[in-house]
Symmetry: C2
Subunit: 117 residues, 2 copies
């Protein structure tokens, strides 16, 4: 719902300059869970990331080919909102709780979500 | 909206076996546009992919670090719906129209979206 609204306003602002329109921000991240703890990690991430101001979409997926791999795809109304999320006490707690379950984390790339459903 | 509903029903089915609950399907794809035609490619993809049965989310993003790169993140109610989309005449037309704008396409991975907002 939030994402659809954000894309609608982006469509509306197609004629605006880069500076006039606000730039969305996103990330594609790959996480490798400690063996046999992938579902536990997904459950923690899912419960812990529901109320982040400015977060338009946060989708957690299992890799279909690598048994310990999780993908997180995020869309935010701005990079400022994304960066601010790390100051939320609940998110700091989440990071501490998930740490023993994460064998590897790689930020695959930073993106600007542009269009979508 | 569609994605939220799908995740709600997935939550509801947590106690169900793998076979009882329907498995969502998704993909993360990286496309390299022909030089200086990235925005044109994004516009074509955005307009052409709005009405695909079973598609819960289809987000098109610019890579913030590689000037010709686009990321497409997709969530579907099933792999069957995804595969069937290639039989839709409008999608076949879209593939033909976008072909001259695409220098490279790589399916980064196939995923099962599990939880999200």
């Amino acid at each position: 719902v939030l994402l659809a609204a954000a894309f609608s306003s982006a469509d509306f602002a197609v004629g605006a300059t880069e500076q006039e329109r606000s730039q969305m921000y996103g990330m594609i991240a790959k996480m490798t869970a400690v063996a046999e703890r992938r579902n536990e990690l997904i459950a923690l991430l899912g419960a812990g990331t529901r109320n982040m101001p400015g977060c338009l979409s946060y989708i957690i997926s299992r890799d279909l080919h690598e048994e310990n791999t999780i993908w997180v795809t995020e869309a935010w109304d701005s990079k400022v909102s994304h960066d601010a999320s790390f100051s939320i006490p609940a998110i700091q707690t989440l990071i501490v709780k998930t740490k023993p379950l994460v064998a590897d984390f790689s930020k695959v790339t930073e993106i600007e979500p542009v269009l979508g459903i």
